[in-house]
Amino acid sequence: MIYLDSSATSFLKPPQVAHAVCQAFQNMGNAGRGAHAATLGASRMLYDTREKLAGLFNIADPARICFTCNATESLNIAVHGLICGGDHVITTVCEHNSVLRPLYAKEQEGASLSILPADEKGRIIYERLEDLRREDTKAVVITHASNLTGNVTDLLKISALTRRYGLLLIVDASQTAGSIPIDVEEMGIDVLCFTGHKGLMGPQGTGGIYVRKGLSPRPLKVGGSGVHSFDKMHPVDMPTALEAGTLNGHGIAGLNAAIDFINETGVGAIHEKEDALARRFIKGMADIPQVILYGDLEADLRAPIVSLNIGDVDSAFVSDILWEDYEICVRAGAHCAPLMHHALGTVGQGAVRFSFSYFNTEDEVDTAIRAIREIAEE
């Protein structure tokens, strides 16, 4: 089997991740719920993971990072917790439904939404941002990279405006955390939402949110905190404020080991290899008739995602042949990115998405190129 669906999840992981999860199953108690060795071990592991994530994203205070189940939960905390009924928000056509649907829900509560368009290659039209800003604009909610085109957002261009007007910059780093450098200070990110199971190579059910000092999102969940048990209100101190209930300690132990691998290998080296594989695939597509590639393929910085179609063939049909005849795993359909499919004109057809991992090989890429060539020539 050739796994080229790493944008969906990092199926290919460093072996130490599974080992760490198994170790945690055997040794770890519930963090923050006592002072015996098993619970303290869990608390120490969580803190260590917070510190490692803080190092990865240049976050000064690890306590500003809260663990969540996934980027969707983080984005829901950010949107529901910071945006009110009367606020105006700017987002883009590049967004995943994990950004769009919470924002549409806020629209139902009276917030208003403007959507920054993209060109035919799915590139955000940054010049329009200033026009969309209004006096009541509260935030820009934006992806760091499109899960459909692999185009990377130039966050410095966005934060130039958010800084100038005092807007919140809320970033969805689902497709970049762990594989493309992120510096919350340099990039002017107020809230960073990330998942643990994609570029960070950890288990599913792990993720997190960074909230800069001075911001206090209303929590989505309140409940057990292990402390202040007689208070009617959930504690407000970070990270407890956004971490009601038992965390996925076993999963986070795996995430911890995954970050160790990323740090030992280097985010730069991981990106370089994934990028080289994606570009090899793009090059291999160049002379195949009927193949339509989407996205800004010439950009210097790209996420390792290549979406394509063969003529007007249904993307689901192509992906099924890839699996049945070649045992190649890819994702077809709409990829939860409805506005980008509208922008690319692929609403009915969807697209076949190839996404590459540090653990893929050039041989696997070449097999995928041969497969597409053969299907296109049928």
Binding site: A35, R44, L46, A63, V227, D237, P239, T240
Partner: protein, 78 residues
Amino acid sequence: MREKKKYMVLSFHSTTEAISFEKQCIQDQIPGRLIPIPREITAGCGLAWRIPADEYPSCRQMIQDRQMKYQDITELSL
């Protein structure tokens, strides 16, 4: 009946703060250990750092110099 001893007990706003404090103590060889917070103290965290009272004067300066965060400090017989 166990014999009681005097301790300086430091409380924290959160478990994260407590674990961060413990990490710094280990690095700087500050004595003590994390305990479940005694009922005499109200704090944001269920953990407290317990230092034998007679050893506290020698590490007080270090805790200040390192700007180690905690919520409160109380002398207790435990």
